[in-house]
Symmetry: C2
């Protein structure tokens, strides 16, 4: 299974803390506010509880999903965004450009 | 099935066009650069081709996934982000805060 975390955080400090948290929990950065990594429902709940301590629940939001591997491997990537996310993880998936 | 689109687009004009495109294709806005809506692989490919005409493939990126309904309905939402995404679609899912 793959855990996908997307967040929308207004404050740069909180954003930075969320990014460090997700990387420390083994997720790779796909986009500036999109992370993915191996894991299931229990790990997703751990991530949610940890993010809850960082986010301002009124202004910030994070969506955490647990995907079957096939949903992940069939993912379509448009553009590559290397310029924006140097070292962007390039997990399996269909690459259009 | 649910289509999830996350994008990271540097230019405000392109970002705006991508947002309008996704809404015109029936997706709802979850976060500033995260959209979701009903649909399968064929619609996902249509979205990818349409986004490809908007994005700068070097600086921008979009990830498009097709999720089974259960992956979507078990999604965990931390915070509600209403302040950032007024009218944030509130599809089914576990809401923590």
């Amino acid at each position: 299974m793959i855990i996908l975390v997307a967040y929308d955080i207004s404050d740069p400090g909180r954003r930075d803390r969320a990014a460090k948290l997700l990387q420390s929990m083994g997720l790779s950065r796909l986009q500036r506010s999109l992370y993915a990594g191996r894991g299931g429902a229990a790990k997703a709940r751990d991530i949610a509880r940890a993010l809850e301590r960082i986010l301002d629940s009124e202004t910030d939001v994070a969506d955490i999903l647990v995907l079957p591997d096939h949903a992940w491997s069939r993912r379509i990537e448009v553009g590559n965004g290397r310029a924006r996310v140097p070292g962007r993880a390039r997990p399996p998936g269909v690459h259009i450009a």
